[in-house]
Subunit: 154 residues, 2 copies
């Protein structure tokens, strides 16, 4: 696990296969679950306590899209904001492995799986990652196989 | 393209390979781009007009996660709310193909690619889909290969 390099810009070359970055953590409150889902994913088990209890989940759970959004925020704050980011063409897989429930504390982790210089553009490369969210019981609740375009060191 | 069946519950059996559902549309405003990204994806090209102009994108663009979240809302409102949804284990791919810019109007489309009854649980099955967001110039701006668990007809 690497320390954050404060004030140092990270380029494509700084993402080395096998490196894992700890991106910090965030608590998912009941209020935030209902607020996010009311706007973007108003299924009963995300917004209605009573119907959630009667559902297959047995209680309120966070929208999977909230888990990805909170991951993204931790990723930007703790890694991408110091990097020569040129955006992302997408991602290759998301798995929501365990329900996220009110007051769960999720820790975000980013592991470099592959780093491939662009063959068409000399100024950039693609970093392939395994992104994970882990709860307070050390259960991996989400995995995401990310792609990210980063500028090369000038 | 199928009409929405008002008041009729949709089960696994009602998702037939090749069917396409029109899920309606939403306009992505400048305000919503900045509001979403300020909370979940505060990269300069999503939140800062001036730095966005200087970036590879040449102007403010929506976070890809906003596009997926708005897709999800249209999907819930116009299809899932009438279906025996048991959630989703994840998805197999997202591609953000074109930037989404202020005032773009995005139409959501859901096509059934495969429908596989569960071999372990007789009461459910998985629907595999191609989900798309298309802008006002008929450009596909996002594709997403979704998985969804649906209850079987009792």
């Amino acid at each position: 696990m690497l320390e954050r390099w404060y004030g140092v810009m990270r380029y494509f070359e700084d993402f080395v296969v096998g490196d894992t970055f700890d991106l910090g953590s965030a608590t998912i409150t009941r209020e935030s679950i209902i607020a996010f889902a009311s706007q973007y994913d108003p299924q009963p088990f995300h917004v209605d306590e009573e119907r959630a209890r009667a559902s297959v989940f047995g209680g309120l759970i966070a929208s999977g899209w909230q888990t990805t959004a909170v991951f993204m925020r931790l990723f930007v704050d703790n890694l991408l904001s110091d990097a020569a980011s040129m955006g992302s063409p997408g991602l290759d897989e998301i798995r929501w492995l365990k329900p996220v429930r009110p007051d769960d504390r999720l820790r975000a982790r980013f592991t470099v799986v592959e780093a491939r210089p662009s063959t068409r553009r000399a100024d950039r490369g693609t970093v392939y990652s395994l992104c994970e969210m882990v709860n307070q019981r050390d259960e991996v609740v989400m995995t995401l196989k990310g792609l990210h375009i980063l500028g090369r060191r000038p």
